[in-house]
């Protein structure tokens, strides 16, 4: 078997400051940024974003479709 190189198993992070040392404003900005990145990542691998909106569970897809989960 051929071993998988470490760089394919671990990702180098992009954070420059620990969230535990952030001010409230920095932490808020960090979360908004991460939510956008998570959304883009899920869409890039063909997965929807599933979350609760106005009391309803929905799945949001890359093509813009928003489908109630149940």
């Amino acid at each position: 078997m051929i071993e998988i190189p470490e760089e394919q198993l671990m990702r180098k992070g992009t954070m420059t400051k620990s969230p535990f040392k952030m001010t409230f404003e920095e932490e808020k900005e960090w979360q908004v940024q991460k939510q956008l990145e998570a959304r883009a990542y899920l869409f890039s691998i063909g997965q929807p974003l599933v979350y609760k909106k106005d009391g309803v569970m929905i799945a949001e897809y890359a093509d813009g479709r928003i489908v109630p989960v149940r």
Binding site: M10, Q31, Y51
Partner: protein
């Protein structure tokens, strides 16, 4: 990681990926590099990776960012849709078991945690931090988010712990 080994045809992909994770962590610890693990915290063995890394040196700090929700159904829905969209299947019983274990395991391992950031992962486009805890400063800082899993369970536990 185990799915990558499975795709490569490793028959013992489960055991081998556990070995590989431990080996990568060990080498990072020897080089004294910061590292982050993204993992479920629903089974004791998942804590073991983090606890073993912390124990490697007295100076190591364990910072936990925990994403949780009051809705088990949200976890089940996410797992189901992930599978239907082409990724791996996690059985509903396993999702429920990990969900039920998460807060009790966090409490059981609380003594080892230096910094804790609790995030409610139910909605989006919100400021989601519920609370932060710092062991050295003996401080629990709360936002105005108040999900039941924090309010009725972790909050009284941490307040008691700090007393």
């Amino acid at each position: 990681m185990r799915f990558k080994y499975k795709a490569k045809g490793f028959a013992d992909y489960n055991e081998y990926s556990i070995y590989r994770v431990r080996d990568i962590i060990r080498r990072k610890l020897i080089r004294n590099e910061d590292l982050a693990l993204e993992l479920n915290l629903g089974y004791p063995h998942q804590y073991e990776y983090a606890l073993a890394a912390k124990k490697f040196s007295n100076e190591n700090l364990l910072n936990v960012i925990l994403f949780f929700t009051d809705s088990l159904q949200l976890c089940l829905d996410r797992a189901k849709i992930r599978y239907e969209s082409g990724l791996h299947l996690v059985m509903p019983e396993t999702v429920a078991e990990m969900y039920d274990n998460t807060i009790p395991l966090l409490k059981a391992n609380f003594d080892s945690i230096d910094n804790l950031n609790l995030i409610d992962a139910t909605r989006r486009n919100d400021f989601l931090t519920v609370a932060t805890y710092n062991k050295a400063l003996k401080k629990l800082q709360q936002s105005n988010q108040n999900p039941d899993w924090f309010k009725n369970d972790l909050k009284p536990f941490i307040e008691e712990y700090l007393r």
